[in-house]
Assembly symmetry: D2
Homo-oligomer: 271 residues x 4
């Protein structure tokens, strides 16, 4: 990276986040060990849709050993659906479910010498609170009650981040390096062909562009501005881990620091 180009870069560091701790009992999912060498922030399942206590213990300890930030991957109480099905939970109960999950994970984080450092809702809850006003408010309320200094991670433009910001929580924008975007900067639905990118080179190029140029090329060819402080990578298939690893190398080779957003200075108002 030439010194003069550095001056123009809007960002020279970015966070990589991924879902971890998603096993349960005898069942495993994803390669937590490999991912912890790739990401800077681990969204760890808290037991409601995945993640039993022994999984939480192990993943939090490994995360702390490797300097990876710990986030609470809160979700609906739905082991059989892996939290991927919308549940019309009463907001007051959802708030309490969120508190319970953060607190349980925080116990293991503290034992490992750290803390839960942020919250990122999972699956159907993540999707619901992009627009579901009451549930978004319920999750915000849960975080506020537990620790109002805790930042939250989410989709730019979501009800979740809007309400969190109004409530005084620090909000962090994330982008998906393997997902197609619309010209409005939203994600193309997974049901549309081409919504998920599988070509490693293309994904790495997109990651670089997001970080260095602050933009992504939408499905219609237009360039959309976007300032993610964190990039979400996947690890629940062997191929995904390989791509995640390529993304990391690509960024590092381009001179981008991979650093937990909780350690990044607040140079980006919302990112």
């Amino acid at each position: 990276m030439a010194p003069n180009s550095a001056r123009l870069l809007p960002m020279t560091a970015v966070d990589l986040n991924s879902d971890l701790g998603e096993g349960f009992g005898v069942w495993t999912l994803g390669d937590d060990d490999a991912l912890l060498d790739i990401v800077s922030s681990a969204n760890i399942a808290c037991g409601f849709h995945a993640g039993d206590p022994s999984v939480l213990r192990k993943v939090t300890e490994l995360a702390v050993e490797r300097g990876v930030a710990i986030g609470a991957q809160v979700g609906y109480r739905d082991l059989s659906g892996f939290g991927r099905r919308f549940i019309d939970v009463v907001p007051e109960e959802l708030t309490n479910d969120v508190i319970y999950q953060i607190a349980a994970l925080d116990g293991f984080a503290r034992i490992a010498g750290s803390r839960v450092q942020y919250v990122k809702p999972h699956g159907a809850l993540y999707n619901a609170i992009v627009t579901h006003t009451e549930q978004a408010a319920a999750v915000v309320e849960g975080v506020l009650r537990y620790d109002r200094s805790m930042p939250v991670l989410g989709l730019p433009g979501s009800e979740w981040l809007r309400q969190a910001e109004s409530a005084g929580l620090a909000t962090v924008h994330e982008a998906f390096v393997d997902r197609a975007y619309t010209a409005e900067g939203t994600l193309v639905s997974r049901r549309v062909t081409g919504a998920v990118l599988h070509d490693a080179d293309e994904v790495v190029a997109r990651a670089l562009r997001m970080v260095r140029e602050g933009s992504v090329v939408a499905v219609d060819g237009r360039t959309v501005g976007l300032r993610p402080r964190s990039l979400c990578v996947h690890g629940d298939t062997p191929g995904a881990v390989e791509i995640a690893s390529r993304i990391r190398s690509g960024l590092v080779e381009a001179g981008v620091d991979i650093r937990a957003f909780v350690d990044l200075s607040g140079s980006h108002p919302h990112g």
Copy 2:
């Protein structure tokens, strides 16, 4: 209570503890509201055998409002068995199950302005660790890891308290005012006729004797010494709440302070 008898009393204050927060979802068990006016320490279920997050939220808030100490009623993961069936959990997993439960409840306790102040295992786990060396060690390890300043409540002579004490935890002895004792100071098995006392007057008299004279009359008529710092009362039937209320009045009228053991000075080495 005559002044001169007061001088001889080994104890003028005692804790009353009971199980609370044992509902789950639509289902309720016991009268938490009534019990919180009777007891000084609430053993609150943590979600594994009973107690969903909204129950935990409500009971911890009420307990704090009324100045009742909060204890973690940790148990086996067994909703359908209410934690009343021994489960041969691997010790490492049991330790993590205990941490998870304490931490989850602690989240609600802190939100309510307090903390989990002690641990009392529930049901089959309580019974198992009277003698089960590995599981007793596993629960002790869980408490130690979570907070080594947290006292534990249990049966005098149990492996649980023995190991907790060896590990440096503060241990508190409890007695059961409605249970028959053997001459050795152990509980008569529930399977034996007469093991559980139902006469309110007799139970109140026993409570008073335990507190004031430090003894109980065993099934064979012998007097057994016993120095409980806490008396366990039950509340899972309407009649039980009435008896618990009678016990409290009886003690108070006799000049005994009902006070959470966590607030009692350490005048009794093990109690």
Copy 3:
């Protein structure tokens, strides 16, 4: 009941159905024993939102002893929410969840000398499939696959009964004697004041009118036609059991037979 009016009555027998078997483990809900003396059809929970195997065993045996028909009260897999929260289950999975529940209950029904004789979805699933096309189809598919001779019970005008009928299942209409109706014959939302009737005399009078005159007076005073072959009564509070008992007596005294709809001749095309 005057002889000449009797000739005009469209119905001299009706089924009473209620939810039973809704306990789980140590927790109970409703008075199954009392209700089995009142109703002619028991909607028995199957384990997903309530009802553990020992509850199923006991209730099916009691139902058979007393000649009460056994229906499968299928619901979402949601113990903590008692099946009262909509879950956006994938239709194929919902079909399999329905089959699993019917089959499990059927095991106990057969042991008791009977069979599951009909299906009535519970709670949020009941409400969802009034309009949710895919989930209605999924439940219909589950019943068809399990036993296409099995009738289904539900709300007149619902997507559930419409699709069931199209698929060739026998459909049975039910009415709610303690709920206010709109002039269109739909239920007034529980959120509206006056939606649920608590006066026993009024409820009994409505039950009689539904059965004898085939109508109900809507909230705006208009008379709405309605031909339920089954009346749903509630039993999850002591007061509810008392009202249910009054409804039965009122009907019996008026000369109406209380008889399981599965035993009624098919004089009503949809009821």
Copy 4:
């Protein structure tokens, strides 16, 4: 295989059984598809320790397509422990848990055009009822109640098979081709080094010897007689599937028919 040796063979057909359907929701375990080409009997999990309804549906349909017999792999209600932890369930409840599981699986088996054809308890329950009199009786009672014509599969010499036989159930002996045996014909504890065999050639040789000579060489070198009608093979690791496949080929090449025991004539009194 020489013609003259064939005349002496005590057995020219054997069943291969394996555990299938052990996924849950998003989580998978083992390669059901591959195993169904290897085994003649599939022990299918029923939902209490593994196996959600959609797993049951899929595996029963595949089993029927490929002519593999369906067995109910009943277990303790313990998803987080995969049924591998002893639970001290009250016998009456265990009976009902067994009925529930068999009935639920049977629903899917019947939809697929078959039936549950036998019962083989899983994990800790399998181990417990080798000696646990009450639990063995409870499982036997469950099978008897559900269908007294249903054979049961288990360990020769176990309390489970002894009681099942006394109760009039058909019992089938199984042997473990990858486990070391003592001179008494019991399994060497997994905690002992060498208890589990990993060498494919050795395992295949043992399988052949068990089938053709009716014996196994114990850890002390002595030959132990053993007449399994079914051999248990494992499939929960890729290597295990490979070994299972080798066992099948080895047997077939040696002229042994692999055939579900439910289809084998009853030439062996207990096997």
